[in-house]
């Protein structure tokens, strides 16, 4: 039962990877093969031709670096700005707090395509059109994540703060030294999802960047896909290469999604 579940979840991914090792003629079969099997001989094989061609013509390396720069800086900014704001909403009191929060929430409900062009225009006004900065700054915070973090911060018992702050500490100290370390799970979630979101982001880079030197990976790959038209094996080779970094990020950081709070300090 669980095996079936795993297969369903993992299947498409496996197909993506295995197709990147197939020859064109073996891509389309009556039922998609999860393994690269030759139509003619029925034997297992794999070819790295696809990867070679994508690397040679796809001009991936620059896009790769761009993507890493953008995703990393965006993630760091996001974690910072979002957690600061979430802390403010979760723990501090100030007039208009709830109203401001509702207004912020409502910005999540604005359909993206309507604001696309105005956002583009504003970004251009700020001089960031066609630049990597323009990929980061307009996306450097997220109300979604603020909301998420707020919910989590609110579950941390007040007593922990009070206990650790017996001698008094600044609000920022509370934030930095107590809330953040206790929030590893939610910070991990936000970090991972933000990184992956930025890594795979396509529409905004598409309309923002004119100069191929600044293309990010999905854009570069789309060029490939569009060019190769129907060469699924190239497309999948490119997609596989694109997914490797975020897979690594996920595997590495998911271990922080662990049992968070150890209350030993409170006993007694």
């Amino acid at each position: 039962m669980i095996l079936l579940l795993v297969i369903i979840m993992v299947g498409p991914f496996v197909w993506m990877v295995s197709t990147s090792f197939k020859k064109s003629s073996d891509v389309f079969t009556e039922a998609p093969n999860l393994l690269p099997i030759s139509k003619n001989t029925g034997k297992l094989y794999f070819t790295v031709e696809n990867f070679k061609i994508v690397l040679k013509y796809g001009e991936i390396s620059k896009a790769f670096i761009n993507s890493i720069l953008v995703a990393t800086s965006a993630t760091i900014l996001n974690l910072l700005i979002n957690s600061l704001a979430a802390f403010g909403f979760a723990r501090l009191n100030f007039p208009g707090k709830n109203i401001i929060f509702m207004i912020l929430l409502s910005t999540m409900m604005i359909p993206f395509y309507a604001t696309l062009i105005p956002m583009l225009y504003i970004t251009k006004l700020l001089g960031m059109y066609n630049s990597l900065a323009g990929l980061v700054i307009p996306m450097c915070a997220s109300v979604f994540n603020v909301f998420l973090m707020k919910q989590f911060f609110q579950t941390i018992p007040q007593e922990m703060e009070d206990a650790a702050c017996i001698d008094g500490c600044s609000r920022f100290g509370v934030y930095w030294r107590i809330i953040l370390p206790l929030s590893k799970p939610v910070l991990t979630v936000v970090g991972i999802t933000t990184f992956i979101w930025h890594w795979n982001s396509y529409t905004w880079p598409l309309v923002l960047i004119n100069d191929p030197k600044h293309y990010t990976l999905p854009l570069q790959l789309a060029l490939l896909v569009s060019g190769s038209g129907s060469r699924y094996n190239y497309m999948m080779a490119a997609a596989t290469m694109a997914v490797v970094p975020i897979l690594i990020v996920f595997i590495v950081f998911q271990r922080y999604l662990i049992q968070g709070i150890v209350l030993s300090g409170l006993k007694g």
Binding site: M16, A85, L92, P111, Y113, T155, L257
Partner: protein, 301 residues
């Protein structure tokens, strides 16, 4: 409630200041501009022409020009009603599954495996699911016929297409899953230990400890999943976008509000109208969210 001191007030504002600046410049300003555009006729090549609330009137009343306005609304609502419970339910179950695993390596494996759908390229996702749903030799139909049911033309039949999409959304619940996982991990084991000492059964501690403590998370997930489902785009784009079509699916049964909006913005050259549609959607989601805030329990006290 302790009265907020002035220092706390200032601190509060300072903490949220970067976010406010960002939102003001990059979210609210464009939204206001969009509202302005919604009252114009604008094909993006020329200057927008002011027409006041014409767009809104036409959308609601002109059925020749906009025959699918109400239809797309209805389709979207149907989709949300299916996708949200399914997505949250499966995310929760998967998170529970992962959380119950003892060995760390197995746990890591499951975390990665169940999150893969989220990071798989949407082209690959579309290709594989088109095969699973295939009317002749799709995996699903083969499975069903073995059980004695009749196979369907899942993606090509107007009756099943939307449901098939919702299932796909459920499959991609990885983000919901890890958020739930983070929530589960955040529940101090102390609670469970205390319950065990009091002699509570596993089911009881689940019902009286886990669920209530997860209420903030669940609330968050419901609100955000509703908002996201209303704006579903990518999956319909890749599954029904072939041949330069209008993404409507069989008999327009997958023509959600956003797809309809997108068509008008980028295919028919009616950007002003698309902005009007966005504003209407925004109001609707806003009302819905406020309702959720009033009705749903947000925390465990």
């Amino acid at each position: 409630m302790i009265k907020a001191t002035t220092r706390e007030k200032i601190a509060g504002y300072l903490f949220i200041l970067p976010l406010l600046v960002y939102v003001g410049v990059f979210l609210i300003a464009p939204a206001v501009m969009s509202l302005f555009f919604s009252m114009t006729q604008w094909n993006m090549r020329t200057q927008p022409i002011w027409i006041g609330i014409e767009n809104y009137k036409e959308l609601v009343f002109n059925h020749v020009k906009y025959p699918y306005f109400g239809h797309s609304f209805w389709i979207t609502i149907k989709y949300v009603l299916m996708a949200v419970p399914m997505g949250i339910g499966s995310g929760f179950c998967l998170a529970l599954l992962i959380n119950s695993v003892k060995r760390e390596k197995t746990e890591s494996f499951f975390k990665v495996a169940f999150y893969l759908p989220v990071i798989t390229s949407s082209v690959a996702v579309a290709a594989i699911w088109k095969w699973i749903y295939d009317s002749r030799y799709g995996l699903l139909n083969i499975f069903l016929t073995k059980l004695g049911f009749e196979g369907q033309n899942w993606l090509g039949d107007a009756r099943t297409a939307l449901f098939a999409l919702a299932v796909l959304a459920m499959w991609g619940c990885g983000v919901t899953m890890i958020i739930y996982l983070a929530g589960l991990k955040g529940i101090s084991p102390q609670f469970y230990e205390a319950a065990k000492i009091d002699g509570a059964s596993a089911l009881a501690s689940f019902w009286y400890i886990t669920l209530p403590l997860l209420r903030p998370v669940t609330f968050f997930l419901i609100v955000t999943n509703v908002i996201a489902s209303f704006q579903v785009f990518e999956i319909i784009y890749v599954l029904y976008g072939a041949g330069g079509g209008s993404y409507g699916g069989p008999n327009n049964s997958t023509l959600t509000y956003i797809m309809y909006l997108y068509n008008h913005a980028f295919r028919y050259g009616e950007m002003g109208l698309a902005c009007a549609m966005s504003f209407i959607l925004f109001i609707l989601i806003l009302i819905l969210t406020i309702l959720q805030f009033k009705i749903l329990p947000q925390s465990y006290d």
